[in-house]
Symmetry: D3
């Protein structure tokens, strides 16, 4: 049996969960990856209301859907970030508080610990593991281009800060036996293969920390996203199926984005509905088969030029046509004379 | 006659000017583009010592060299930047002062105004125009990736800050009839064609502001560096000949650099000795001919894997072999029967 | 709602309209783009028989089809061309007449004026606009390669001839509020972006004249067919979806065609059933969305190697799978905490 | 009507014919290409039991399938090969015998003569021609890389050996009016266009010998598999539709395979389910139309990374979507005014 | 010894031969290919003044140069062309006469016959063969794009016209034992491999007619210019070394040229100084070695963006560095133990 | 100081050493890599005549040359090979003996042990290390394509045979402190990265065994020859600079060679004079700098289409222009204000 195909609800937070669940089912999905914002998944309710996860899971099953992951990218981002006005828009009021940077970071840290507990509660209701996906933020992202010259010590300090802030969070993940999957992404402590290795090393290789693999953030940069799967074959805890297009010829702006909004015609790259970008998903599926990844393929649908309902539907079909089961037997066997 | 080929002295600031001048002559160069650091060009001396520029120019002529530009990238960077510890290492003590960010920015502003006066002094000694090349810094570079979401107003504020800080500097440039050439580069207010257009617009298109064209900062990003020349055909005030290599296949890190030092084998791109990278200089020379650029071709030599003296010599030969004079006559003329 | 998909009837002129309409419906089309030859659309009847357009439109609706354009390429070609024996085969007898070149051109001019009136009549019957697509011919196409040397004045004279002959035609289009869409194509006054700009300029930019965009005539030449859409964003009056294949390796003949018939194995390029050639329709649809083109996507099916009924059916499916509605909302909105 | 799509049974020899026939029908196939091993087709029974072919063909028709070819690759391989332990595993006991090399070759020769008679019997039952596909083996394959230096005489001797051994076999094919199709393949006397020409020439061009065209063995080598069709347009007796993927970037092993099993991640190339590799089947179908090949398109399905039932089904759909009928009429005809 | 490198004088007709000869020698050339216009080579004088060729050849030898070809492209063009005003500018008055098209063609025919005699005279003076290079013109070039549809008969008539007009010219070439080399080129009867084959066939394959091979007219069209050498291995009578650049990305105009002058920035292709375009001369030299071409490599220098003297010098160096002698011995020989 | 450039004498064995030494010096080389055949280096004399190496080295120094390696490819090949008639031509009579395969292998083994002693002698004379380059042969090369199916045990047996035969040879290398460099090459136990790793592992990683790196045998196969350098950074004992060209388009034969001699026009790949093939030597030199390879760059010149003296000279210039010294200092240092 092929892998379940789920829809990440983050880009649909304006819709109530019930409405979205009906749509997702109609589009052909097997489940949802629930965002911890909008009304899709409420971490606080989970840790305070003993019926919350049970009711939620029952709702999903009624809709013919399942769930294997919850995602708290927005709060996770605040754990290591240099906090500024942009964060206010993406954080819940009780995390933002008075906006004092260190205070925000500490409240975000606490919220991520709660998220582990919540995932554990939902796992109990579902009867199977629930992964937490998310971002980590980074205190050194702004140093990405080394001018004025950046010293190795500055970078090292950034990874230490990451470890100091996330180890206490991951302790809770270990306690409740839940895994955290970082979506490797610009602005995070890891945004390519090299920095992902460095992040794993900063944490001493602890197994609570792994990845929500998403090729769309790697391909346009020139990062080898297939190699990523082999290098971290035992830490791919969840997968985002998301496509991105980039130009085959030079453009007025480049990978750095030209301070242009998504969808601007002068951009070098942009997210695209699955199958309409440059990501080679065939090689990705073969790599998943080789590392024996059996989890869901979760569509994070984003394409600033397309109606999202049209897109979510075609994306689901694309993934179902693409995915396949590995071979159970060696080939030459059938050649032998019996 | 082809264009003069000069050597930018910024990467040789550890050598005294006299020593470097001898080397440059021996490598085959026609002149120097003087860095305003090391002992190569001293802005303060120029504006305080009436003999400074005359003596300096006499020295160069004795060595068989000329000069068409001075460069003050390091101080210019501090005008708009969010100042931090990195800037202390690149600024002269009288600009850094106590390191208070706004104070640093204002002292850097004052220093750039002085640089215009100094260029005017040197122009007087040389008997021809002297361009000032440099950086501008940027208060919004760290917002390059739009997550957490960046509002258009935040970007707009960055360009306004740039205009507010640089207009007073450019007023002096206008007074003394000197041009400023921004080297479009990551961490600056302009780092591609789109942001260069926006920077020009922020200044109301004033002619004191133009570009020190350098393709090496554009090519690896995916920016159309030949188109840049045509779009800004009347604002190319100076040229850096600098090459950069980038991978034809995906790598463990990408355009964002993976927090890796130059020269690291896992990098996607790196600066390269001229002719050993991916920049198509043939098309660049043809574009210069079309826009009638007649200034120097200044080699900014940088290649973390090569001995710099070996490199500076081969780079000079490369440029001299590449450059050519445009045609003076139409072609079909010679076909006609006389 | 996505755009309607229509079938251009020009390649099916051997079939009566009724027969073709049934087939087109069965293939999946939403409408027809009627050729003004065969029995598909008769300009003379339209301007002489007050019931003609009403009956015709009723017939189409009965078949479950609509119409948004009529096409008179063959007569349009004769307006500017240097007339020779080839034109006799493609012109109706009353336009060809005695074949005297200037007489043919004048009669063709008159016929194109009538075509505008006819389109107006059909628009009345349909209750919405009808575009006239077509060719213009050119008195200078044979000068395309500049040997023996061609003077700028000779080319200029060609564009003046074009303006002198087409302005009177376009006056009628303006009178009856109909648009003319030139299919940019070899042998016409415009066959790439540059000549299209020149044609528009020759007419003083009058709005009656625009384009029936067809990428198949541009791609194999090396012309930037996506850029065409942005340059003429307010003059794309109609669209032909037609594919073309060209070789990735050199061949015994090239773009100039080697005087070989379509389908010859030695050709460098050939028209292909949609989706089997090299045109990047994904980028085209995105460009249409950006310029807000809302008209039909009309399949001009041509592939010398394929059975046309097989092809027309797969082409319709291809376009319907490809086309999509643009996004109604910005993306980051859904990220915000509510 | 498009060509029939068949499934080659060689990779399914572990399944009884009845079981496989049901599956093939369900996957969408029109027929089977029967392997002469497993219980799929038994050459000895055919030549000894007068009811065998009639019963077999009746079984197929009952299942809704037909047959146009039988394949005896394994025995054919032994005709020219330097026999070693590997051959024992692929030969029936009565051909292997005591394993003495020359004895094995002679018994294999006899078996291939019997295969021609058997094909003739099956043709009688089916009422149409049956092709025999297979391998030839080669006494010189191990000399493929010319070090230690290989003399032209050594190669010539290999082709003479081939002719000496196969001419007597082909005499029987001529007698019973059956064609033999060599699958051009590494380890055979022909493995590219050049060696295929040489093999044909070694046999004096006799028509009993032609090819079972299979692009998968040619593409990864860098051999022009489309040109193959034109060069041997009158000798393409049967076709295998089989895909192969190869890397666009260099790998730890290359075309020579690195002594690695199929499916190993370090391989440069591997067989792939149809449509997931690099073979350009569009050009192949167009070439088949040009040479007027009307036989079956037989799927030889092989992909070490995919479940074979999933694959055989998608492959059948792929071929049916790809294949098309050629045009019956010239195109310009429809343009003419009637 | 490598092949001699000569300079074609056609693009230097504004300079007297003596002046040009000095320059060519200084640039490094071994000889000149003399244009039959300007004062470089005068066909009429050759056939009327018995001392003309002797004096001319003595002049060249005094300058240290030799000659292996004369070129009469301009008059040759008029033999088959549809004559119009453009031809007046390129023809000598005694050929143009009153400009009546058929009269011009006949006088051009006569002039080409004289050119053969002249070449024979020069060969006598030089003591070795002299080739005549040139154009043929074409009565069907304007029909290159088949719309309005062009019948096969029209094309056939063009080749017959070519044969009818050139056979009498070639009769003289045969009489005086001189070869004619057509430069395959747009606007000529042959402009790619396919039309070159057709031209040869139209003349019944007579050996007086061959080619002045010039890859620059083939490459940008997509024609296989290396294959050309192998197909016509016994008819390559002379060689033009000329480079051409074409774009790797689509442009505002394409191969058809957009009615733009050479040098225009919007062109898709343009002639380039040797080594600065896209032609792969390495493969060309290897092909010349294989077919045993031993004649001169004649630089036809054309680059609308470069000073011609700069260019002619670098082109000569380029060819001398590129060309090499073939191997005299097989390689493996040296491996053998003695 | 850049690396010395030497000429491998294997392809010049028909010339006496004295003659070749003069030529090499004139071509610009710094030394020779001596072949152990022809009269270039005689292993037997070295181990029997105590003056041989001293005299030889004195001769080289007199010619202005040095030596860092001797090469015994031909005898090494016989150690593991399945011996046949081809080996007789490349082996000295005392190794070939009666040609009995196992006897030949044992005598070749003994000769390779002697070669280590000889290298040690020459090192004594030269006062620096001498590497022995060579081949190993392979008992499993003929199994490269896995049909008839090859079992893993068969391959494993081949590596065991290799270890059993080479360990006793390498024992002598260890005793006399000499290194052996296998030239990874088709027909050897290692012919790509994967098999090179397996060969090293079969020998337990002993340091006497490393590589004579030669990219020309890897590139055309699709093997990552730059990665090879990083994987075996401590085992690159010597380097062959040899280029190879391969086609960018499919050809009548492919990587397997079509049983065609080198130089045949239908080949997919062929060795080429340095700089005229596809190998990216720029990346190779940068990799050598990174792994700190300081040995000679030895030109193994082979190009079946070029005169070898012409080639050896241009190859020497090519390598000297390409090679460069690494940077001694970090780059940012020079930016700092002093």
């Amino acid at each position: 049996m092929a892998r379940p195909v789920t829809l990440f609800t983050g880009q649909w937070a304006d819709l109530p969960l019930e409405v979205l669940a009906d749509k997702a089912k109609e589009f052909g999905y097997d489940g949802l990856e629930l965002a911890c914002w909008g009304d899709h998944y409420d971490v606080t309710k989970s840790v305070t209301d003993p019926h919350y996860d049970g009711n939620l899971y029952a709702l999903l099953k009624r809709k013919g859907l399942d769930v294997w992951a919850i995602s708290n990218h927005l709060v996770g981002q605040a754990v290591c970030d240099l906090i500024d006005a942009r964060h206010k828009a993406i954080l819940p009021p009780h995390v933002w508080g008075d906006g004092d940077p260190e205070g925000v970071r500490q409240r975000a840290t606490h919220e991520m610990r709660k998220t582990a507990w919540a995932a554990s509660n939902l796992a109990g209701a579902a009867g199977h593991d629930i992964v937490v996906n998310g971002f980590t933020g980074s205190s050194i992202w702004h140093l990405l281009y080394s001018f004025p010259p950046v010293s190795p010590e500055m970078i090292e300090a950034g990874y230490k800060d990451f470890a100091d802030r996330w180890n206490p969070i991951l302790d809770v993940f270990d306690e409740v036996n839940v895994k955290f999957g970082l979506e490797v992404h610009p602005t995070e402590i890891a945004f390519d293969v090299v920095t992902a290795e460095r992040a794993v090393k900063a944490l001493g290789g602890r197994k609570a920390f792994g990845f929500n693999y998403d090729p769309s953030h790697l391909g346009y940069q020139g990062v080898d996203y297939v190699e990523f799967i082999y290098r971290f074959s035992d830490r791919i805890y969840h997968v985002h199926m998301k496509d991105v297009g980039w130009s085959s010829v030079p453009r007025p702006s480049g990978v750095f984005g030209g301070h242009l909004s998504f969808g601007n015609v002068n951009r070098y790259w942009d997210f695209r509905s699955l199958g309409r970008g440059n990501i080679n998903f065939e090689e990705i599926i073969r790599a998943f088969n080789r590392i024996n990844y059996k989890g869901p393929l979760s569509v994070e649908w984003e394409d600033s030029g397309m109606d999202r309902e049209h897109g979510a539907k075609e994306a689901c079909q694309f993934v179902k046509k693409l995915d396949f089961e590995p071979s159970a037997t060696a080939f030459d066997a059938a050649f032998a004379e019996k």
